[in-house]
Structures are given as structure tokens and as C-alpha cells.
Symmetry: C2
Subunit: 552 residues, 2 copies
């Protein structure tokens, strides 16, 4: 005879959910106690819920299956909300378990009482359920697991009242096997094929699952055989890239650049992606970035099987035997002298080992990262899918737990690092192979650009001070040390190279506090000229578009 | 002609809202730009939204008027939710401004798009409004301000779309003066008077506004004249206490103790307080803590004027000329030798200057704090009203901004400190007079007690490890230094005393990392015997009840 928590634990591990990222409180104590009886469940403690949820996100991106979370009531869920938002936007499966008061206790409106379901709907529009009895609990959990790992993946929130957890009579449930998703229908494939064969400029916009090797190879066959251009969504959930894989240019973050990138196309074929829109609305600027003259087609939706759909398109086009263009191995060379953000990206591109996992939350400082790692050995890239900063360090934590034998590089802006800095403690506790590099420019640099872009350019000192985090400048090396992570501060390329090499030679977490100038310093209103300077390392067709733009 | 943001800024300052705690993003850039034109608005930047919302809470508790927040969309609100929850439960006014995408941009479901209103309802059940036009904005803001600072105070959420902010045609609004709340009705006063005169054991349970000096003095007159006992709610929003003020015993956190405390009473009269309930539900234990034989009366609700109601009760009872019993000055003496949590509380009780603000989020380590500061010079106490940990450091930040000339002591558990540790950076940036003392016992100590109390006592190593934060032990002194706060680690009483004296001699923020053993170590299942050891320093009637409990 099991209590609810014990039966729930068994239901989870039987469904292959073997990691739980936790920040529990009193209402979750029976779940915690049930850990003892279940050797297959690994519980990873976080000091803040945003770390737990971000780690669950990063874990699922790399493990291709969900982890569970364990959060404490509505407030714990609130603390975890931003990274669940990123998971939702990335279509990442998470079994989000939120403890609640005992059902009979709710009426007393005790201190921690709040409406959990209402908060949960923000990140779990597809599945929020409060389990009402110990008998029903495991079926509720099975439904949550099924919902989470469907296609598209989602955050399924299971609210677990304390008495449902401690009640006797829990019976573990079997969760049905995941169904293979269907490929796109014949009409969608024919439409896409027709556009590609039209002779008009056509791009395949790849997102979600379509950025993994099987899809990329299929798409590259089409590109080689029919001349279509390959584009990737701006913020991929997980993108396989590097030497030996087809190079795919991501849509630029800045709407101005994305519009240039898209200007030449007459057909845009979406594969598990949405038509590009501006990250924010700006006065007098368009939100929808596809040119009016461009037709948008959907090859496959997030509910469909992207690689199977692409393979059917390959067959329809007769491109099976085309040789995909792949990226040749090409390291950018080691940087020298005083550090800049670009030099940090260069050093990473030069030194990252094969099979690295690159977590990119470097915002402005990481602008050159993609170009400078393009020819590095094959690796995975994880990005900020939902725009809620504070995703990088937690995500790296989860990725390292999913892939203990792969080196993880977390490239993080100083502003964003501080949202979930407690992730360092979990990295130390679990001795994870994560090398975090913080771009310490002491500024919300992106906001300096944004302040300008929204048309508030003549701002004074008081406004600017809201974007300036230099008083005081955080010392991330000491900060890391305070949580048991090896930390070092560097300000030259040589120091950085030494630090990266040391980090790769010693297991466990390392943090490199890279003191750099603002990469966009003085840029403002000069986005294009600045980018043009960097042209040689930028991939096409953005490069081509920019070159045309400045040509007389 | 103003844009929306400029007119909003003027509406806020004209209504006396002169501090805004910010963590802005792109959608808030016009609000940020509008800061330049408004010298009366002080913008205080936080590196994490939970710091901004907690600071707004602490500020309002001490300033007796709301601050504004500035948060970035649904995710920023999520990050700030836990401390807004604490404000809500404490009936603290906050004008919670959440930026949103431009109204026309919402349809594109960009990365940061999410349902903000749905999240906001969790903490702002009484007022959530998305402003729909620049013309309507200032009236919306005025309504939000009125709602926030009504009685009871509340978190009023104003959602501010970017185009409403940047649009032209904003017109500042006047916000009506706050109305004096009415005193309790005649019937309520007569009922309370009758209970007090009945000769049966009666307690006045004071909460909210009733824990401030005018109410306390009135209640103490009744106690002196009629023999009623004075009790305070477990977690006061703000309680004035110390030498010269009437001593009031707080209802204990542990339901077992609270039940003992309440056992003797036949009448409980609520003054801006609710009838005591257990913090959590526990298997086989009652949630509602008032004995069946005790009648509950309401003198005044949170909507009514507590001091006026108490004064009318004083008159009705003829107690105007009674001499209230007040606490005599009584310092506990300096501790000696190896540090314990109790010795930290003792040192604070001995050394805190007059007019200190004490922020208590020390959880288990602070168990003796109340007793050991009872006779210290007059001070204010701020506590964790909503149970969402991570309130202390932000709240201290806000309190120090509200009261720049008063020393703030933040007594914080190590577990809770890590939720919003970024507050230290804001303390450094604003050079706030806050001395934070972290009880570093490397444990979620309270959860060890709770694991036991929920009946999961035979837990193994895996469960226990979820409550153990000793691997690694965080070094809060270095952590503080990394964010520009003077930090020192102490493990003896002598070092602690020196550190407190130094902190009081130097303006600006200080952090003392106090290494202490778990205060409840070995306690488990022995709550009563342990507390009885501490009897001499515990106030009545809990002491009396405990003594009776062990008497043969």
C-alpha cells in the first residue's frame, strides 16, 4: 500500500521521468520523503525556483524527454514562471509539479494560500489540473506526462494538494507510449514543392524539431537540389550545428536586419516555425516582418513530424541523391590582447571541444558568437526561446545533467546572469561540467539600443542610469567562489584562453568573469555601419542583403 | 503636450508616489525616458524583479504610502510575484506597473507575449487593469492609486502597453485625497465591550494597523482597566514595539504552540486580524486554531479604522484614564563565546539603536528574536506576512529608502536569503543603511521540523539531502563583497559584536555572515521540551500555558 506521493513517484519513473528539479516546502514533504524509496529518481535541489524550472527546460532540450519539477505553492510557481515561459515558447516538455495546501485547508486562507491554477495557465495553457484525490492522482500524473511530451511539447502543470500526497491508496499508473507524430499532409507537401520549383526566390524557415540533424540534412538536400535558401528561427530551442552539418542562417533579432534578410524572398516555407515577427513593437515600425510580396506556406506544423515531412518533400522533389552542402571545419583562430566580447566568442569558437553544448544568453555580447562558432566541431546550441532572461545558467545546469559527458559552455550577459545566479550553487553541488562565461560589461547594453529604437533617443542621465549596472560592478569570480564554483576574472585574451583550457582540464563547474567593453558602445543609430564592419564573419544571406543596402 | 509615460509620471508624483522600484525592459523604455523630466520621482533599479516588488512592499510599510514598481511583461511580473504575494497578505499598498507589448503587437504572439492579467489576478484580485489608450491612461493610474491605498491597502496592477506609453495626448489626473476610514459600528463595539466585561477570559487579537502605537496604547488601556490579554497576529506587517510601548505576544507559528496559547480564552476579539489558522494543514491536526469553546468577535475589519475603533471601545469601557502597562527598557546583555542563533538575537537586542527597523526573516534561527528584543529601545518590526520566503533583504532595501535616517537590521535565514540575494546590489548602489545578518546554518532547518510534523519522520538520506544546503556552504561574506557590500564572516560572539559595532559606525550596507549551528538541531518531536528550556525569556501567556502543560 502506497501513499499518493509514493505512487506518483513510481508513475513518474515508470514513464522514464528520472530527474526532478526541486525547491520544496512543507506541502511537498511527502513527495520529498518518497524519494527514499525510489532509487531511479534523481532529485536535484535548487536554491531558487527559477533555477529548477530553467534546469528542467535545459534538461528536456538535451534529453529529449521531460524532467519533473517540484515547486512550493503559487509563490514557488511564480518564482519559476519566467523559465517555464521560456520552455513553453520553446515547446519543451516539462512535468511541472506544484504542491498545494491540503484540500480542506484551502478554506482558511492561510498565509501561503493563493490561486495557483490562475498563475499556471500563463505557462500551461494546455494542461493545468489540481489532483482531487489520492486515488485519482496517478491518472492525473499520467495525463500530465502525456500532455507534456506530446508534439508539440508543453509545460503540463499538476497541482498536488498535500493531503492527496499523504493519503493512502495510491496506485501507480502506466503512461501510454508516445505516438509517432504524422508527417505533413499531401497538399502541404505539394504546395511547398510547387513554390520551390517555381523558380522564384524561396526560403525554408526551420524551427523546433527541424533544427536537428535529420531535418537539417533533408533541408540541405532540397537546398542543394533546388536552390532554396535555409533559414532558422531567431531563437532555436536546440539547434545542431558546426562542421559536417548544413549551415543555416538564423533570422536576426533586430527587426531592421530581419527585414533586410527576408526582403529578397517570394516564398517562405515554414517547417515547425512561425512567420517572423518583431520581438517588440516599435513606433512607426512593422511587427510582421514577412514582405507583402512574399507568400507564406506551411510545410509542417508543431503538431507534425518535421523530419518525416521534410523527407517526403525531398522525395517529391527528387532530391534524395543530392549532396547537401555542409559546413567545413573552420576555427576562427585565437584572439590576442585586451578582451572584447568578440574575442571571447572567438576563443570559444577556437577552443570548444567536439560535442559541446553551447548555451547562448549573451544578448549583445554574443552577437558574433554564431559566426565565430559556425565551423567549430559539431555541437548543440540552446537559446533564449521566450525572451525571459535568466534562462542561461539554469538551462546549462539541466543540460549538464542530461549529458554528463559533454562539455557545456554557458555564455551569459552580466545583466541576465543575475536573475538566476543561484544556479551556480546547484552546479557546485552536483559537480556539473559547465563552464560559464559572463560577459561583464556592467550594462544592460541591449536596453541602450532599445531606448534608442523606441524613439526615446534624447534620454538624460536619470533614464540612462536605469540601464547602467556599473555602480557597483559585480565581481562574478568572487560571486562564483561564494557558492563553491571555481571562479576567475580575466581581462585579456591570454588570461581567457588559459582559463578556458583550465576549465576543460578540470571536471566540475567553472566560471570565467570576462571583463569586456560594451560591444555596442557608440553603436546606437549606427546599427548598420557597425554590422558592416563585421561583414567578413557574418554568414549569408544577411551579408548579401547588407552589402546591397550600402551599395550605391 | 505629453506622451502617456510623461503624463503618468506626473500623475504618480502629484499623488505623492515618489519612488519607483524598477527592472525595466524594452516595453518600458518610454517610462524610463520620462524619468528625466520628473525630478520628484526617484527610480531605484533592481537586478531582479523580486527585489523591486519586495522593496516596494518594505517601502510602503515604513512610508505609509505606496511606491510604484516597473516590471517587464508577464515574466517580469512572475519574477516579482512572490513578494507581491507578501504585500497582498500584509494589506500593503503597491502601485504595480507592468509594461506590455504595444496593443497592436499582441496578435503576433512574439516571444515575450503571455497573458499578464491572468498572472496579476493572483496578487491583485481587487484591481487589475490594462490601459487601453493614452487618453485613458492617467485615469486608469488614478484608479489604481486609489485602489492601492484604500483601506485595506492592496496591490493594484496597472498594465501599460508600450504604445499607450509612447502615444501623444497624455493628460495628468488628480487623484482624490484618501478618505478617513470609518470606525467600527456601535453594535461591534458593544459586543466587544460585553465580552470584555463578562468576566470570562478574553483576548484582543491585534493585526494590521492595530499594531501601531496609537492602537497599541488604546488596547493596553483596555488591558489595564479590564484585564483583557493582548495578542498579535503571527506575522505582522509592521509592529511597533520595544521599551515604552505595550508588550504584545504574537501567536506562535507552530500550530501546536498556538493552540496552547489560545486554550484559555473564552472570547477572542479581532481587531484588523483574522482568527488564527495553522500555517499548513497537517495529517490529523486541526487547521482552525481557535478552541471550540471560544467565541470570536470582530471589533473592526481591515476596511475600518482600527485606532478609532479601539478608542471608541476604550470610551465605552471607561478606560480612558487607565495607565497602560508598557515594556520597561531591558537589554539582554552581550553574548560570549561560540556563536549560536540565540546569541545573534541577543547581540542584536543588546546593540540595536533606538528607532531601528528590524526585518525578521530568520525563520528557525530567529525563534528567540522577539523575546530578546522585547525591552530594546522602541523600534519597528517587519515580518514575512505571506510566507513567501525571499522577502527580507528586498523589504529591508525598501524600508531603508523610506527611512534613510533609521538603521535597518535584516535578520535572514541562509535558505531564504538566496531567493532574492540580488537585493545586496541595490543596497550598495543606493548606499543604504542596512545591516544584514545571515544565519548561516547551511540548512532549510524549518523543513527538517516540517518533514517531521507532516508525519514523514522516518526519512532517509535522499529525502534529508533535499533540506541540506551544506554542500557547498555559501559564503555570504564573499557573496556580499562581489556585489559591493561590505561583508564579514563571524563565528564567535566577540566577532559578531565587533562587526555590528563597525556596521553601525559606517554608513552604507553591511552584511554579517553569522555561522551558527542549526538552532533546532536534535529538536524534532521535542518541540515542547526545547521551548521550555527557553522559558525565562519567553513572554506570557505562552510561557504560562507551557508551564501549565508540564505541571503535574
Amino acid at each position: 500500500m502506497s501513499n499518493g506521493a509514493q505512487a506518483l513517484m513510481k508513475t513518474l519513473v515508470d514513464a522514464g521521468i528520472e530527474v526532478c528539479f526541486t525547491n520544496p516546502g512543507t506541502s511537498e514533504m511527502h513527495f520529498v520523503a518518497a524519494l527514499d524509496a525510489e532509487p531511479k529518481m534523481r532529485a536535484v535541489l535548487a536554491l531558487f525556483e527559477g533555477v529548477a524550472t530553467g534546469a528542467a527546460d535545459g534538461y528536456a532540450r538535451m534529453a529529449d524527454k521531460p524532467a519533473a519539477t517540484l515547486l512550493h505553492l503559487g509563490c514557488g510557481l511564480g518564482n519559476g514562471l519566467a523559465n517555464l515561459h521560456n520552455a513553453r515558447k520553446g515547446k519543451v516538455p516539462v512535468v511541472n509539479i506544484v504542491g498545494d495546501h491540503a484540500t480542506y485547508h484551502v478554506q482558511y486562507d492561510a498565509q501561503l494560500q493563493s490561486d495557483i491554477e490562475t498563475v499556471a495557465r500563463n505557462v500551461s495553457p494546455g494542461f493545468v489540473r489540481t489532483s482531487r484525490s489520492t486515488e485519482a492522482l496517478c491518472q492525473d500524473a499520467a495525463d500530465a506526462i502525456t500532455a507534456a511530451r506530446g508534439l508539440p511539447g508543453q509545460v503540463a502543470t499538476l497541482i498536488l494538494p498535500a493531503d492527496v500526497s499523504w493519503g493512502e491508496g495510491g496506485k501507480p499508473c502506466q503512461v501510454p507510449e508516445q505516438q509517432e507524430a504524422p508527417a505533413a499532409g499531401e497538399q502541404a507537401i505539394q504546395n511547398a514543392a510547387e513554390a520551390i520549383r517555381s523558380g522564384q526566390k524561396t526560403a525554408l524557415l526551420l524551427g523546433g524539431q527541424a533544427l536537428r540533424e535529420p531535418s537539417l540534412m533533408a533541408a540541405a538536400r532540397i537546398a542543394a537540389h533546388n536552390g532554396a535558401t535555409l533559414l532558422a528561427e531567431t531563437f532555436p530551442t536546440r539547434m545542431e550545428k558546426g562542421a559536417g552539418l548544413p549551415p543555416v542562417e538564423r533570422i536576426a533579432y533586430l527587426a531592421e536586419l530581419a527585414s533586410l534578410q527576408l526582403a529578397e524572398f517570394e516564398h517562405l516555407i515554414l517547417v515547425d516555425a512561425k512567420a517572423p515577427v518583431s520581438f517588440f513593437g516599435y513606433p512607426g515600425k512593422k511587427s510582421y516582418l514577412v514582405p507583402d510580396s512574399c507568400q507564406v506556406h506551411t510545410l509542417s506544423t508543431a503538431e507534425q513530424n518535421a523530419p518525416a515531412s521534410l523527407n517526403r518533400l525531398v522525395e517529391t522533389l527528387g532530391a534524395q541523391h543530392a549532396t547537401p552542402l555542409v559546413q567545413h571545419a573552420n576555427r576562427p583562430g585565437l584572439p590576442k590582447g585586451k578582451l572584447t566580447a568578440e574575442k571571447v566568442c572567438r576563443a570559444v569558437g577556437e577552443l570548444m571541444p567536439e560535442d559541446s553544448i553551447l548555451v547562448d544568453e549573451a544578448i549583445t555580447s554574443g552577437l558574433m558568437l554564431n559566426a565565430l562558432t559556425a565551423g567549430a566541431p559539431k555541437h548543440d546550441l540552446i537559446t533564449l526561446t521566450g525572451g525571459a532572461i535568466g534562462q542561461g545558467l539554469p538551462s546549462a545546469t539541466g543540460a549538464a545533467i542530461a549529458c554528463p559527458d559533454r562539455p557545456v559552455f554557458a555564455l551569459i550577459g552580466d545583466g541576465t546572469a543575475m536573475y538566476t545566479i543561484q544556479a551556480l550553487w546547484t552546479m557546485a553541488r552536483e559537480n556539473l561540467n559547465v563552464t560559464s562565461i559572463i560577459f561583464n560589461n556592467a550594462s544592460y547594453s541591449i536596453l541602450n539600443v532599445e531606448l534608442d529604437r523606441v524613439g526615446a533617443q534624447d534620454s538624460g542621465a536619470k533614464a540612462k542610469s536605469q540601464l547602467d549596472i556599473s555602480g557597483p560592478v559585480t565581481n562574478f569570480a568572487t560571486l562564483a567562489q561564494s557558492m563553491g564554483v571555481h571562479g576567475v576574472r580575466v581581462s585579456t585574451s591570454e588570461e581567457l584562453i588559459k582559463a578556458i583550457r583550465y576549465a576543460q582540464s578540470q571536471p566540475g563547474p567553472h566560471l570565467i568573469d570576462a571583463v569586456v567593453p560594451e560591444s555596442l558602445n557608440g553603436m546606437k543609430r549606427k546599427v548598420l555601419p557597425w554590422l558592416l564592419k563585421s561583414l567578413p564573419s557574418l554568414p549569408r544571406p544577411l551579408t548579401m542583403a547588407l552589402k546591397k543596402k550600402i551599395a550605391p
